[in-house]
């Protein structure tokens, strides 16, 4: 549009844009290139074009008779990542929405106190919080000690390094991410609308379903995305809680670049994970953009 001003604005944005191009976008491009190369003998890659990396994301070749089958290991990790992320989102919804409701309906002076309590875990180091959950369920941890002391069990229950442990850990660390956006939506909700619906003889359930939920839905969707996206790409929590037994996609990628020594496969898995995250985000923007149009129309 306006010539000199456009230049000035580009120049002001350029340093930030350049840093992200160099240290985030360019490296991703390299990953995309690497996914089409041949694995090197000791890690790294050979510069020979190959689609084997992408092939191995879902399939594997039988080493004896050269038949092609689905890669059971990769598929089960892919499924686990998606299912555990969906479950984490659902559980944080079940706990997070009523909690957000509770905070938003406190008197304003008390509200800050409860918000403060949600904000602290939100700002606390992820690894520290994961260590805290680990202490609860490890073999010599709190739960097992209590159960042993009560005589309910003879042997400690092995809870670590299971899907349950990963799910528990992710739910614990991502719960504040659900509460905050839902709170923001409920806080803005005009409760006179609920009153009006009751005056018109709406039942409690009807009011919740037809008046309250539609209006706080943007917050609920935002919270779900904020939980689902980091769950899908989670690395630290499944590594500590799941170990080598209950891996997620992030850990599988790490494995291919480490012991697996199959960088092209690792690169292809990285792109797969990124695409899955982008799909979730695109779905989210479609949903919210659609709402805006309806609001204005």
């Amino acid at each position: 549009m306006n010539g000199p001003d456009t230049w000035r604005r580009w120049a002001l944005s350029l340093p930030a844009v350049a840093v992200i191009m160099l240290f985030s976008i360019l490296p991703l491009g390299v990953v995309l290139v690497y996914s089409f190369l041949t694995p090197g003998d000791f890690g790294n890659v050979k510069w020979i074009f190959s689609t084997d990396g992408w092939f191995s994301v879902l399939f594997e070749r039988n080493i004896f008779d050269d038949t092609i089958g689905l890669s059971g290991a990769n598929l089960s990790i892919l499924f686990r990542s998606i299912i555990l992320s969906v479950l984490t989102t659902l559980i944080t919804l079940i706990f997070g929405v009523p909690t957000a409701w509770f905070i938003a309906t406190r008197p304003p002076t008390q509200r800050n106190f409860w918000l403060f309590l949600i904000t602290i875990p939100f700002w606390t180091n992820l690894l520290v919080r994961t260590i805290a959950v680990q202490e609860m369920i490890r073999s010599e941890g709190v739960f097992n000690r209590i159960l042993l002391a009560l005589g309910l069990i003879k042997e400690p229950i092995q809870m670590m390094y299971t899907d349950f442990a990963v799910l528990l850990g992710m739910t614990y660390v991502f719960l504040p991410l659900m509460v905050l956006p839902v709170y923001a939506a409920i806080e803005k909700f005009d409760f006179r609308l609920a009153e009006a619906s009751y005056d018109l003889y709406a039942s409690r359930l009807f009011c919740l379903r037809r008046v309250i939920l539609p209006l706080i839905k943007p917050g609920v969707i935002a919270g779900s995305i904020l939980v689902f996206v980091p769950s899908l790409g989670a690395y630290v929590t499944p590594r500590v809680m799941g170990g080598g037994k209950s891996m997620m996609l992030g850990n599988l990628i790490d494995l291919q670049f480490g012991q697996g020594r199959n960088w092209p496969l690792g690169a292809a898995l990285s792109i797969t994970l990124t695409v899955l995250v982008l799909l979730a985000l695109i779905w989210y923007t479609r949903l919210t953009a659609g709402r805006k149009e309806r609001d204005h129309g």
Partner: protein, 267 residues
Amino acid sequence: MANRSFDVRKLPGAAAIAITCFVILYIPMAILVFYSFNAGKVIGNWEGASLKWYGAAIHNQAFLDAALNSLILATTASVISTLLATMAALATTRNERFRGEGVIHIILNQPLMVPEIVLAIALVIIVGQIKQVTGYTGLGFLIAAHTAFCIPFAYLPIRARLEGMDLSLETAAADLYASRFYTFRRVTLPLLSPGILSGFMLAFVISLDDLVISDFLKSPGQDTLPTYLMGELKRNLTSEIYAISSLLLLLSVLIVAGSWVATRKKD
């Protein structure tokens, strides 16, 4: 309204679930802090109260080095990213859309759309090559990477603040013959400062929190607090880990409390 028999703000069961939620959030952290005062070496095996492991941590050179690295890294990365994000936010808000604005916006938010582990792997491929070719293994790689993924976190609150700002004050300053720079320094910047402060805090905490990218990019001797803690978690599980974790927890409580006090004052 007078004969309303119940409160519309009441959702049956919400209070019970909320309290459960707070209990679930705080019990593991409380237990962690409790066991950090354990005299025994084996974690979780209570042998009496003691500050022994805090003392051990304070005299542990590896921990102190990691803390120093974390501090240098988080400070540098958050200062640079806040500066760059402020410039970019000033360029991309409060004006007619200009050519390329949409692209800039997507680029600035791009690090948010990529899982940390993917970014870590991507960076390690490139940085590994650069390390080999140039022989440079300093903290620069970590600072650059942290700056990149902190930019969107600094950018969002600054941009939000700018969008909510009243343009008429700047127009008034310009009407009173204030120069462009003078207006920026005496009108725009003071109004923008709460946004810059929260952007900086967010970037600082995000950098401090990062484990994955630091762990993949670090050269020997560049442990940060999270990578050191992760290493100790694998090597030797002693009560010192809980003491260090509790110190990190204390730090975040202080940061949250500090930012609350700071924003209260500004408003």
